[in-house]
């Protein structure tokens, strides 16, 4: 097997506070293969954005990587000096955030920002960089790109702005694009367009994608594999089709059942009681145990590790640990 584009190993992110240290990510591990789209889902506060921020070295202090490592094509990037990390961002890892305006500078035209990004990372003349910028804008679906490129960000609609951000993220031909809720702020009819553009253009250029979203539907249509985060830990990771249609981890099962769909016929939605714990109150053992319908003694004591299952799936749940199968009554 070839080296993954990205490898995250036992990543721990902590926030020191006056009342003790909060552990927001607790030993998160996953890989993203070349050309792969990995979806990262979870409810709000699960740690999706922090995972993305840790990878690109933009954790807001006092947040810090307190353990584990992050490797880009086999080389550690979590311990690089800020200057080196800055060069990796934009060049090797592109970023798309929920609010397009966080990535765009309102004081500069789109042309200025695109050309600057291209020329920082790639040795091109001003003229060639501009040509490339226009081609990119055209590719992401900005009509009359050659003319619109000299407009300022506020001249564009929300959806068009997000297209510009995608162009900007891909301007230096990165190997990996991290997109954090790229369509959450957009209208329903615009979301689908943006996801399509993002997916196509990354596939075309061979960029891998880490797509962070709370929307299972978006993941279902876009990702190859999906990682389910719960309270800062991975609950399950595997091929999208398996996880969605044959969810096994009790949390994923509950999550899938709670989403109304356009085809379901049931009158009531599956309900997971309670809500995700706060960081200062993560239960001992399995973080999901107070809400789990299949909880047994072991779950309240020991934390389940990710266990490899058939078909490239991994699951953190004692129910699927062969060694303790006898303990659970309702397996």
């Amino acid at each position: 097997m070839s080296t993954p584009i990205l490898s995250v190993r036992d990543l721990v992110v902590e926030f020191p506070t006056r009342r003790g240290t909060l552990r927001a990510l607790d030993k998160v591990s996953f890989d993203i293969a070349e050309g792969e789209v990995l979806g990262m889902v979870g409810e709000s506060g699960a740690g999706k954005s922090l995972t993305g921020a840790a990878i690109i070295g933009l954790l807001e202090p006092p947040g810090r990587v307190a353990g584990g490592e992050i490797l880009l094509r086999g080389e550690r990037i979590d311990n690089l000096p800020p200057e080196k990390m800055r060069r990796i961002r934009g060049r090797r890892i592109g970023m798309v955030f929920q609010d397009p305006l966080t990535s765009l500078n309102p004081l500069y035209t789109v042309a200025e920002q695109l050309i600057e990004t291209i020329r920082t990372h790639i040795d091109l003349s001003e003229k060639d960089a501009r040509k490339r910028a226009v081609a990119l804008l055209d590719r992401v679906g900005i009509p009359a790109a050659a003319r619109r490129i000299d407009d300022y960000p506020h001249h564009f609609s929300g959806g068009m702005r997000q297209r510009v951000v995608i162009a900007l993220a891909l301007a230096a031909e990165p190997e990996l694009v991290i997109a954090d809720e790229p369509t959450t702020a957009l209208d329903v009819s615009v979301q689908a367009q943006i996801i399509d553009v993002l997916k196509e253009i990354c596939a075309e250029r061979g960029a891998s994608v880490m797509l962070i979203t709370h929307d299972m539907g978006v993941i279902a249509e876009t990702a190859d594999r999906v990682a389910v985060l719960y309270a800062g830990r991975l609950a399950e990771i595997g091929p999208v089709r398996d996880v969605i249609q044959r969810a096994e981890h009790p949390y994923t099962v509950g999550l899938m059942g709670s989403i109304p769909t356009l085809t379901q016929t049931a009158d009531r939605l599956t309900q997971i009681p309670g809500s995700m714990p706060r960081l200062n109150a993560i239960p001992q053992g399995c973080a999901f145990n107070p809400r789990c319908t299949r909880v047994f003694d072991r779950c309240k004591v020991d934390r389940p590790e990710l266990i490899a299952r058939a078909g490239g799936r991994q699951m953190a749940c004692w129910l699927y640990d062969a060694a303790v199968q006898g303990e659970a009554e309702n397996v």
């Binding site: 409810e43 609609s157 615009v190 979301q191 367009q193 059942g257 109304p260 009531r268 809500s275 995700m276």
Partner: protein, 337 residues
């Protein structure tokens, strides 16, 4: 019809979005108006859930606010239980207001942070003079338990609760005046899916128990399909289609409904065929003439650019599209790039 609880006819609301007078004079600009709702008509029957869907800015909340009396219509009438809502008469509005309540999207903003939960829930009881003394406290406790919280939560403040619990408090407050009709404006949009499921299930249970009628507003087609009997689809302030909830998704009549449907990611991985969605919602201050959807419509015809299509009856409800009234539309239809 006697089983109609709420009916809305020709409801229109304009907002004056002109610049200040001096700027207008200097820049030689005319007054500008934004039409948030134009000529909206629908009926809601007793005990049903009627939903309004539409993208941001389509005028959903404006309709909700007019119905609960927070905003005066520019034109049109609202009838509740046969009685025309008279915005000029304070007494008449007050009498009606007890009978309907509203739940908002943001359960934090809609609850006064300095009040205890018990006082928040009791407010409508006091306003309408429904109970006094110890009975109020008892009623608050009962309502809290009804929505899945505990009577002792009355002494706490809103910030001590999670988003989903705060929405439960908002529901308890809405129920405290014993209304027949509740307008729910994006009640779960700010919540996680697992919490959304809890609230949607709760809303259903309460409807069954008290025979409530809901107007549910949402931009989420799946939520709307799950919860409602009938659905109205809004585009740029106008209703483009009203249909039976289950049928709307099987046989959408209006091209915009079809487009919205095609934009919903397919969680079932059914391989459902979808046409790519194009374009964005135009500026509501200067909406396109004729059918406002025409710049995005794959079936646009000449007439669409000139004449606003009227509502026509369809098999599943009604829709406003020239395609439905032109017999030979297949020949006159122009392909759109």
């Amino acid at each position: 019809m006697s089983d109609v609880l709420l009916s809305v006819e020709g409801l229109t609301r304009r907002f004056d979005v002109s610049k200040p007078w001096l700027n207008r004079v200097i820049e030689r600009e005319e007054r500008q108006f934004l039409t948030a709702n134009a000529d909206v008509s629908f009926e809601i029957r007793k005990g049903e859930t009627f939903a309004l869907v539409g993208e941001s800015g389509s005028g959903k909340s404006t309709i909700a606010k007019m119905i609960v009396g927070l905003l005066e219509p520019s034109a049109g009438t609202i009838r509740f239980d046969g009685q025309v809502m008279d915005f000029a008469s304070g007494a008449a509005m007050r009498a009606l207001r007890r009978r309907f309540q509203m739940i908002f999207q943001d359960p934090f903003a809609s609850l006064n942070p300095r009040w205890r939960v018990g006082d928040i829930i009791a407010e409508p009881i006091h306003t309408f003079g429904l109970l006094t003394g110890a009975a109020v406290r008892q009623e608050v406790g009962r309502l809290l338990e009804l929505v899945g919280l505990s009577a002792s939560d009355a002494a706490k403040f809103p910030h001590e609760f999670s988003g989903g619990q705060r929405q439960r408090i908002a529901i308890a407050r809405a129920l405290s005046s014993r209304p027949e009709f509740i307008v729910c404006d994006e009640p779960t949009s700010a919540l996680d899916v697992s919490v959304q499921a809890q609230i949607l299930n709760l809303m259903r249970d309460l409807q069954d128990e008290f025979g409530l009628t809901y107007l549910l507003i949402s931009h989420d087609l799946s939520v709307v399909r799950h919860m409602s009997n009938r659905i109205g689809v809004l585009y740029l302030g106008r209703l483009v289609e009203i249909a039976d909830a289950k049928r709307l998704f099987v046989e959408p009549q209006h091209p915009y409904t079809r487009m919205l449907l095609d934009a919903v990611p397919d969680l079932a991985l059914s391989g459902r065929r979808r046409t790519p969605v194009t374009g964005e919602i135009p500026n509501p201050i200067n909406p396109p003439p004729g059918c406002a959807f025409h710049p995005r419509c794959p079936h646009v015809m000449d007439i669409c650019r000139q004449i606003v299509p009227a509502q026509t009856t369809t098999a599943s409800g009604q829709a406003a599209c020239h395609l439905l009234t032109q017999d030979d539309h297949r020949r006159t239809r122009e392909p759109v790039a």
